[in-house]
């Protein structure tokens, strides 16, 4: 069994698995800590700084971010002190200055009583540079289509040489994890477009489902699934079936349907 450590968050005694972060431990206990850059599926990077908390006990008294700080025996954490909320309001104000139209930012800021920002840039960019899209593309999908460029105020997320990406497979994971909806995926007919606020990053033609003949996924995405999920098991993806049809065939117990399913599944995963 994993080693457990004892810590106190907001006066509540908690046992957490060693190696997990304070944010994870708090979320498990139902203690709310605001965050925009943390995503359960991704490694933490600590870019949004909203999950700050006051730490004391077994480490030096300090304000740290809880999504990167590991749990430690005897740690005392306070997440909603006056000092923390003051800093948090400032961070939210800065976010609001950058992205005054992003719903996630507006809602979170309103929660902390921030409705106006002293830092309006005159522009509106929904991207808050949390880097979730870069992380999912790099660490989970593994195609490295997105990157940060420049420094300071000019920092932004884009593709290589700021053109249509030749590495993007059109999976849409970046849009899925984006907290503010700055990256969007748009399917029109059999065309998929992935775009950020200023730039179209990729365009794809969608493959049609063998059963319902609806376009559903780009070819390069299916090829990657084939390579990552099926080939290691000695299987080959032959026919393309959309998730809905796959589920539908899975649920209905009609014999004829079952036959179709078996056939479909066999077709889906023919041994090499």
């Amino acid at each position: 069994m994993a080693k457990m450590v004892n810590l106190i968050i907001n006066g509540k005694k908690i046992k957490a698995t060693a190696g997990s972060t304070v944010l994870e431990a708090a979320q498990k206990e139902g203690i709310y800590i605001p965050t925009l850059c943390h995503h359960n599926a991704l490694d933490p990077e600590g870019t949004c700084r909203l999950c700050i908390a006051e730490f004391s006990g077994s480490i030096r008294d300090s304000v740290r971010i809880s999504c990167i700080q590991e749990v430690k025996e005897g740690l005392i954490v306070e997440t909603e002190t006056k000092r923390i909320n003051k800093s948090r309001r400032l961070i939210l104000e800065l976010f609001l200055g950058r992205a005054p139209e992003a719903t996630a930012v507006i809602n979170l800021a309103a929660k902390y009583g921030v409705t106006k920002s002293r830092f309006m840039t005159g522009e509106s960019n929904d991207c808050i540079l949390c880097g979730r899209c870069v992380r999912v593309c790099r660490d989970k999908i593994g195609v490295h289509a997105l990157c940060f460029i420049n420094r300071g105020p000019a920092r932004k997320i884009t593709t290589d040489f700021e053109r249509l990406s030749e590495y993007c497979i059109g999976c849409g994971a970046c849009a899925h994890v984006c907290p503010t909806g700055a990256i969007k995926v748009e399917d029109k007919g059999d065309q998929r477009k992935i775009f950020t606020w200023e730039q179209v990053t990729a365009r794809f033609t969608l493959e049609r489902c063998e059963h319902c003949h609806k376009p559903f996924a780009p070819k390069r995405y299916l090829e990657l699934i084939n390579k990552k999920a099926y080939n290691p098991k000695g299987l080959e993806l032959v026919d393309y079936i959309c998730p809905e049809c796959f589920k539908k065939h899975d649920r209905v117990s009609d014999k004829r349907r079952e036959g179709a399913l078996r056939k479909a599944v066999n077709k889906w995963s023919v041994p090499r």
Binding site: R138, H144, A145, L146, C147, F148, I149, N150, R151, T159, D160, F161, Y167
Partner: protein, 151 residues
């Protein structure tokens, strides 16, 4: 694409991911900028995603993705130089070369950049052209300095 030169640069470095910046330095020195085709080739060779290389190339001031002039003029904009009127020197250079800061002349002879303190505050205002430092520069002297580097 100058494959021979790139391969030669790559051969100087052991095949480790940590050498990216060293490689980029050499490429920058050789081409006076980082050409896209070469970067894509290096990406394949040392197995670092092109997006990561592009990120690094964009991050550091030392690297440029657009061709630079044969003579690089850096005007110091540090505190001391600023007080001593480096702004005027910059304006004079921009007028003489007919380019804005950060740009390169059409004949690829000069490129003009501003830099933060170069540590020559005693010589303020200072202008560095290639490896030469010109100190106590007055707007009048700009023409004379430039003519030194014209063929």
């Amino acid at each position: 694409m100058d494959l021979k030169a790139v391969n030669e640069i790559l051969s100087q470095f052991p095949e480790e991911r940590g050498n990216l910046i060293g490689i980029l330095h050499e490429v920058q020195n050789y081409f006076s900028y980082l050409p896209e085709a070469e970067l894509r080739y290096i990406s394949k060779k040392i197995d670092i995603p092109i997006t990561q290389i592009y990120s690094v190339a964009n991050f550091y001031n030392r690297f440029s993705l657009a061709p630079k002039g044969n003579n690089q003029i850096c005007v110091c904009m540090g505190t001391a130089c600023h007080v001593k009127g480096s702004e005027k020197i910059m304006n004079e250079l921009q007028e003489k070369l007919q380019i804005q800061k950060g740009e390169t002349t059409e004949d690829l002879l000069f490129s003009l950049d501003e830099v933060r303190c170069i540590g020559a505050c005693g010589l303020a205002p200072a202008v560095v052209v290639n490896e030469d430092t010109h100190g106590l520069v007055k707007p009048k002297m700009v023409g004379k300095i430039l003519s030194k580097y014209k063929p």
